[in-house]
Symmetry: C2
Subunit: 166 residues, 2 copies
Protein backbone atom coordinates (compact mmCIF):
# COMPACT_ATOMS: atom_id res chain seq x y z
CA UNK A 1 0.00 0.00 0.00
CA UNK A 2 1.57 3.23 -1.12
CA UNK A 3 1.06 6.77 0.00
CA UNK A 4 -0.17 9.44 -2.34
CA UNK A 5 1.21 12.90 -1.94
CA UNK A 6 0.34 16.01 -3.77
CA UNK A 7 1.46 19.54 -3.29
CA UNK A 8 -1.36 22.02 -3.06
CA UNK A 9 -0.30 25.57 -3.64
CA UNK A 10 -2.09 27.66 -1.14
CA UNK A 11 -3.68 30.85 -2.41
CA UNK A 12 -4.07 33.51 0.26
CA UNK A 13 -6.41 36.43 -0.47
CA UNK A 14 -6.00 39.43 1.80
CA UNK A 15 -6.78 43.16 1.77
CA UNK A 16 -4.22 45.16 -0.15
CA UNK A 17 -1.79 47.28 1.85
CA UNK A 18 0.30 50.28 0.87
CA UNK A 19 3.38 48.11 0.35
CA UNK A 20 1.53 46.14 -2.36
CA UNK A 21 0.98 49.11 -4.68
CA UNK A 22 4.11 48.72 -6.86
CA UNK A 23 3.25 45.09 -7.66
CA UNK A 24 -0.40 45.98 -8.18
CA UNK A 25 0.55 48.62 -10.71
CA UNK A 26 2.60 46.00 -12.58
CA UNK A 27 -0.52 43.85 -12.80
CA UNK A 28 -2.59 46.83 -13.97
CA UNK A 29 -0.09 47.35 -16.80
CA UNK A 30 -0.15 43.66 -17.69
CA UNK A 31 -3.94 43.84 -18.06
CA UNK A 32 -3.78 47.07 -20.07
CA UNK A 33 -1.40 45.41 -22.52
CA UNK A 34 -3.80 42.47 -22.86
CA UNK A 35 -6.65 44.93 -23.40
CA UNK A 36 -4.66 46.50 -26.27
CA UNK A 37 -4.22 49.80 -24.47
CA UNK A 38 -0.75 49.72 -22.86
CA UNK A 39 -0.24 53.47 -23.26
CA UNK A 40 -3.47 54.34 -21.47
CA UNK A 41 -1.98 53.73 -18.02
CA UNK A 42 -0.89 57.21 -17.02
CA UNK A 43 -1.38 56.89 -13.26
CA UNK A 44 1.77 56.80 -11.13
CA UNK A 45 2.50 54.55 -8.18
CA UNK A 46 2.49 57.61 -5.95
CA UNK A 47 -1.00 58.59 -7.12
CA UNK A 48 -2.31 55.06 -6.69
CA UNK A 49 -0.83 54.94 -3.19
CA UNK A 50 -2.42 58.25 -2.21
CA UNK A 51 -5.78 57.29 -3.71
CA UNK A 52 -5.87 54.04 -1.75
CA UNK A 53 -4.20 54.95 1.52
CA UNK A 54 -4.19 58.76 1.81
CA UNK A 55 -6.54 61.01 3.73
CA UNK A 56 -9.52 60.39 1.48
CA UNK A 57 -9.10 56.90 0.03
CA UNK A 58 -11.29 56.11 -2.97
CA UNK A 59 -10.37 52.49 -3.71
CA UNK A 60 -10.16 49.28 -1.73
CA UNK A 61 -8.22 46.30 -2.99
CA UNK A 62 -7.33 42.70 -2.40
CA UNK A 63 -4.27 40.73 -3.45
CA UNK A 64 -3.88 37.00 -3.98
CA UNK A 65 -0.58 35.54 -2.87
CA UNK A 66 0.83 32.19 -3.92
CA UNK A 67 3.84 31.17 -1.87
CA UNK A 68 4.24 34.75 -0.74
CA UNK A 69 4.20 36.30 -4.23
CA UNK A 70 1.31 38.46 -5.44
CA UNK A 71 -0.20 36.79 -8.50
CA UNK A 72 -3.57 38.51 -8.62
CA UNK A 73 -5.52 41.51 -7.41
CA UNK A 74 -8.89 43.21 -7.37
CA UNK A 75 -9.57 46.93 -7.06
CA UNK A 76 -13.02 48.27 -6.22
CA UNK A 77 -14.68 51.52 -5.26
CA UNK A 78 -18.07 52.61 -4.06
CA UNK A 79 -20.38 54.10 -6.63
CA UNK A 80 -23.74 55.76 -6.32
CA UNK A 81 -26.52 54.76 -8.65
CA UNK A 82 -29.46 57.16 -8.69
CA UNK A 83 -31.55 54.05 -9.42
CA UNK A 84 -30.05 51.51 -7.03
CA UNK A 85 -28.13 53.49 -4.40
CA UNK A 86 -24.70 52.52 -3.09
CA UNK A 87 -23.09 49.75 -5.10
CA UNK A 88 -19.65 48.23 -5.47
CA UNK A 89 -17.82 48.86 -8.70
CA UNK A 90 -15.21 46.26 -9.59
CA UNK A 91 -12.68 48.32 -11.46
CA UNK A 92 -10.14 45.56 -12.12
CA UNK A 93 -9.75 41.91 -11.37
CA UNK A 94 -6.43 40.56 -12.62
CA UNK A 95 -4.57 37.28 -12.43
CA UNK A 96 -1.09 37.27 -13.89
CA UNK A 97 -0.80 35.09 -16.97
CA UNK A 98 1.58 32.58 -15.40
CA UNK A 99 -0.79 31.87 -12.51
CA UNK A 100 -3.97 31.05 -14.40
CA UNK A 101 -5.93 27.89 -13.68
CA UNK A 102 -5.60 28.04 -9.89
CA UNK A 103 -9.04 29.58 -9.32
CA UNK A 104 -7.35 32.75 -8.08
CA UNK A 105 -9.81 34.93 -9.98
CA UNK A 106 -12.72 33.15 -8.40
CA UNK A 107 -11.32 33.65 -4.90
CA UNK A 108 -10.85 37.36 -5.56
CA UNK A 109 -14.30 37.75 -7.06
CA UNK A 110 -15.95 36.02 -4.10
CA UNK A 111 -14.02 38.24 -1.72
CA UNK A 112 -15.40 41.30 -3.49
CA UNK A 113 -18.91 39.83 -3.28
CA UNK A 114 -18.49 39.27 0.47
CA UNK A 115 -17.28 42.83 0.90
CA UNK A 116 -20.29 44.19 -1.02
CA UNK A 117 -22.68 42.22 1.18
CA UNK A 118 -20.87 43.36 4.32
CA UNK A 119 -21.13 46.98 3.22
CA UNK A 120 -24.83 46.54 2.55
CA UNK A 121 -24.47 47.55 -1.08
CA UNK A 122 -27.37 46.89 -3.43
CA UNK A 123 -25.17 45.12 -5.99
CA UNK A 124 -21.82 44.87 -7.72
CA UNK A 125 -21.00 45.94 -11.24
CA UNK A 126 -18.11 46.13 -13.66
CA UNK A 127 -17.31 46.48 -17.34
CA UNK A 128 -15.84 43.90 -19.67
CA UNK A 129 -14.64 44.20 -23.25
CA UNK A 130 -17.13 42.61 -25.61
CA UNK A 131 -14.40 40.52 -27.28
CA UNK A 132 -12.95 39.18 -24.01
CA UNK A 133 -14.78 35.85 -24.15
CA UNK A 134 -12.74 34.25 -21.37
CA UNK A 135 -13.64 37.03 -18.97
CA UNK A 136 -17.31 36.90 -19.98
CA UNK A 137 -17.32 33.13 -19.42
CA UNK A 138 -15.77 33.74 -16.00
CA UNK A 139 -18.49 36.21 -14.99
CA UNK A 140 -21.21 34.00 -16.47
CA UNK A 141 -20.38 31.30 -13.93
CA UNK A 142 -21.58 33.65 -11.20
CA UNK A 143 -24.85 34.39 -12.97
CA UNK A 144 -23.94 37.88 -14.18
CA UNK A 145 -26.34 40.03 -16.20
CA UNK A 146 -25.17 42.34 -18.98
CA UNK A 147 -26.41 45.43 -20.72
CA UNK A 148 -24.97 46.34 -24.07
CA UNK A 149 -26.62 49.57 -25.08
CA UNK A 150 -24.57 52.04 -23.04
CA UNK A 151 -21.69 54.02 -24.51
CA UNK A 152 -18.86 55.32 -22.34
CA UNK A 153 -18.35 59.05 -22.84
CA UNK A 154 -15.37 60.99 -21.52
CA UNK A 155 -13.54 64.27 -21.45
CA UNK A 156 -9.91 64.59 -20.39
CA UNK A 157 -8.49 67.21 -18.07
CA UNK A 158 -7.26 69.59 -20.79
CA UNK A 159 -10.75 69.62 -22.31
CA UNK A 160 -12.33 70.19 -18.91
CA UNK A 161 -10.05 73.14 -18.27
CA UNK A 162 -11.20 74.76 -21.50
CA UNK A 163 -14.84 74.18 -20.55
CA UNK A 164 -14.30 75.39 -16.98
CA UNK A 165 -13.16 78.74 -18.38
CA UNK A 166 -16.50 79.26 -20.18
CA UNK B 1 -38.64 105.71 -30.43
CA UNK B 2 -40.03 102.79 -28.49
CA UNK B 3 -38.54 100.71 -25.76
CA UNK B 4 -37.92 97.02 -26.18
CA UNK B 5 -38.45 94.83 -23.18
CA UNK B 6 -37.87 91.16 -22.84
CA UNK B 7 -38.04 88.90 -19.88
CA UNK B 8 -34.99 86.73 -19.38
CA UNK B 9 -35.61 83.80 -17.12
CA UNK B 10 -32.65 83.52 -14.87
CA UNK B 11 -31.23 80.04 -14.34
CA UNK B 12 -29.37 79.63 -11.06
CA UNK B 13 -27.13 76.60 -10.66
CA UNK B 14 -26.09 75.79 -7.08
CA UNK B 15 -24.83 72.82 -5.05
CA UNK B 16 -27.62 70.48 -4.04
CA UNK B 17 -28.68 70.48 -0.41
CA UNK B 18 -30.50 67.91 1.69
CA UNK B 19 -33.82 69.70 1.22
CA UNK B 20 -33.55 69.21 -2.57
CA UNK B 21 -33.54 65.42 -2.45
CA UNK B 22 -37.31 64.83 -2.88
CA UNK B 23 -37.41 66.94 -6.04
CA UNK B 24 -34.18 65.37 -7.31
CA UNK B 25 -35.66 61.91 -6.94
CA UNK B 26 -38.66 63.06 -8.98
CA UNK B 27 -36.29 64.07 -11.76
CA UNK B 28 -34.44 60.75 -11.50
CA UNK B 29 -37.76 58.96 -12.03
CA UNK B 30 -38.62 61.20 -14.96
CA UNK B 31 -35.33 60.24 -16.62
CA UNK B 32 -35.79 56.55 -15.87
CA UNK B 33 -39.19 56.64 -17.58
CA UNK B 34 -37.60 58.29 -20.62
CA UNK B 35 -34.88 55.63 -20.60
CA UNK B 36 -37.60 52.97 -20.71
CA UNK B 37 -36.77 51.63 -17.26
CA UNK B 38 -39.24 53.24 -14.84
CA UNK B 39 -39.29 50.21 -12.52
CA UNK B 40 -35.52 50.19 -12.11
CA UNK B 41 -35.57 53.05 -9.60
CA UNK B 42 -35.62 51.18 -6.30
CA UNK B 43 -33.71 53.72 -4.21
CA UNK B 44 -35.69 55.61 -1.57
CA UNK B 45 -35.50 59.29 -0.73
CA UNK B 46 -34.10 58.38 2.67
CA UNK B 47 -31.29 56.35 1.10
CA UNK B 48 -30.47 59.11 -1.38
CA UNK B 49 -30.41 61.62 1.47
CA UNK B 50 -28.07 59.48 3.57
CA UNK B 51 -25.79 58.75 0.59
CA UNK B 52 -25.42 62.45 -0.17
CA UNK B 53 -25.49 64.07 3.23
CA UNK B 54 -24.78 61.36 5.83
CA UNK B 55 -21.52 60.51 7.57
CA UNK B 56 -19.85 59.10 4.46
CA UNK B 57 -21.35 60.89 1.48
CA UNK B 58 -20.71 59.28 -1.88
CA UNK B 59 -22.40 61.69 -4.28
CA UNK B 60 -22.28 65.42 -4.90
CA UNK B 61 -24.97 67.21 -6.82
CA UNK B 62 -26.10 70.45 -8.36
CA UNK B 63 -29.57 71.77 -9.03
CA UNK B 64 -30.73 74.33 -11.59
CA UNK B 65 -33.47 76.67 -10.43
CA UNK B 66 -35.69 78.76 -12.67
CA UNK B 67 -37.73 81.29 -10.72
CA UNK B 68 -37.07 79.33 -7.55
CA UNK B 69 -38.22 75.95 -8.91
CA UNK B 70 -35.76 73.11 -9.53
CA UNK B 71 -35.89 72.21 -13.22
CA UNK B 72 -32.66 70.31 -13.58
CA UNK B 73 -29.95 68.49 -11.67
CA UNK B 74 -26.64 66.70 -11.96
CA UNK B 75 -25.32 63.96 -9.67
CA UNK B 76 -21.66 62.94 -9.67
CA UNK B 77 -19.30 60.80 -7.66
CA UNK B 78 -15.59 60.21 -7.54
CA UNK B 79 -14.31 57.11 -9.24
CA UNK B 80 -10.90 55.54 -9.35
CA UNK B 81 -9.49 54.39 -12.66
CA UNK B 82 -6.49 52.10 -12.35
CA UNK B 83 -5.37 53.68 -15.65
CA UNK B 84 -6.16 57.36 -15.06
CA UNK B 85 -6.50 57.80 -11.29
CA UNK B 86 -9.20 59.88 -9.65
CA UNK B 87 -11.92 60.99 -12.07
CA UNK B 88 -15.40 62.43 -11.88
CA UNK B 89 -18.26 60.20 -12.88
CA UNK B 90 -21.37 62.02 -14.05
CA UNK B 91 -24.10 59.64 -12.97
CA UNK B 92 -27.06 61.73 -14.12
CA UNK B 93 -27.69 65.04 -15.76
CA UNK B 94 -31.38 65.79 -16.11
CA UNK B 95 -33.49 68.70 -17.30
CA UNK B 96 -37.22 68.33 -16.86
CA UNK B 97 -39.07 68.07 -20.14
CA UNK B 98 -40.96 71.37 -19.73
CA UNK B 99 -37.75 73.35 -19.22
CA UNK B 100 -35.79 72.28 -22.29
CA UNK B 101 -34.19 74.85 -24.58
CA UNK B 102 -32.94 77.17 -21.85
CA UNK B 103 -29.39 75.81 -21.89
CA UNK B 104 -29.91 74.47 -18.38
CA UNK B 105 -28.13 71.22 -19.25
CA UNK B 106 -25.13 73.14 -20.53
CA UNK B 107 -24.90 75.17 -17.32
CA UNK B 108 -25.04 72.00 -15.23
CA UNK B 109 -22.48 70.23 -17.38
CA UNK B 110 -20.05 73.15 -17.18
CA UNK B 111 -20.49 73.26 -13.41
CA UNK B 112 -19.48 69.60 -13.23
CA UNK B 113 -16.46 70.32 -15.43
CA UNK B 114 -15.41 73.16 -13.12
CA UNK B 115 -15.78 70.93 -10.10
CA UNK B 116 -13.64 68.21 -11.73
CA UNK B 117 -10.91 70.75 -12.49
CA UNK B 118 -11.09 72.12 -8.96
CA UNK B 119 -10.73 68.63 -7.50
CA UNK B 120 -7.74 67.98 -9.74
CA UNK B 121 -9.39 64.97 -11.36
CA UNK B 122 -7.83 63.54 -14.51
CA UNK B 123 -11.10 63.64 -16.43
CA UNK B 124 -14.85 63.24 -16.37
CA UNK B 125 -16.87 60.34 -17.69
CA UNK B 126 -20.41 59.11 -18.01
CA UNK B 127 -22.58 56.65 -19.91
CA UNK B 128 -25.23 57.37 -22.50
CA UNK B 129 -27.72 55.06 -24.18
CA UNK B 130 -26.67 54.40 -27.77
CA UNK B 131 -30.14 55.37 -29.09
CA UNK B 132 -30.33 58.67 -27.18
CA UNK B 133 -29.24 60.83 -30.10
CA UNK B 134 -30.20 64.12 -28.45
CA UNK B 135 -27.99 63.39 -25.45
CA UNK B 136 -25.12 62.28 -27.69
CA UNK B 137 -25.46 65.48 -29.72
CA UNK B 138 -25.37 67.43 -26.43
CA UNK B 139 -22.13 65.76 -25.31
CA UNK B 140 -20.62 66.09 -28.77
CA UNK B 141 -20.75 69.87 -28.47
CA UNK B 142 -18.20 69.63 -25.65
CA UNK B 143 -15.85 67.44 -27.69
CA UNK B 144 -16.63 64.16 -25.92
CA UNK B 145 -14.96 60.89 -26.87
CA UNK B 146 -16.78 57.55 -26.77
CA UNK B 147 -15.90 53.91 -26.51
CA UNK B 148 -18.43 51.33 -27.54
CA UNK B 149 -16.83 47.98 -26.86
CA UNK B 150 -17.49 47.69 -23.12
CA UNK B 151 -20.37 45.72 -21.68
CA UNK B 152 -21.84 46.53 -18.27
CA UNK B 153 -21.93 43.47 -16.05
CA UNK B 154 -23.79 43.28 -12.75
CA UNK B 155 -24.92 41.08 -9.90
CA UNK B 156 -27.71 42.06 -7.52
CA UNK B 157 -27.65 41.74 -3.75
CA UNK B 158 -29.49 38.40 -3.55
CA UNK B 159 -26.97 36.89 -5.96
CA UNK B 160 -24.07 38.36 -4.00
CA UNK B 161 -25.40 36.87 -0.79
CA UNK B 162 -25.42 33.43 -2.37
CA UNK B 163 -21.85 33.92 -3.59
CA UNK B 164 -20.71 35.31 -0.25
CA UNK B 165 -21.80 32.07 1.40
CA UNK B 166 -19.45 30.00 -0.81
Amino acid sequence: MGAAFFVRMEVVVRRAEARDVPRMLELVKELAAFERAPDEVTVTGQHMLEAGFGDHPVWVGWVAEVEGAIQGMAVCYERYSTWKGRRLYLEDIIVTDAARGKRIGEKLFLECARYAVGQNYSGMLWQVLDWNVDAIRFYDRFGASYSKEWLNGSLELDQLKNLAAL
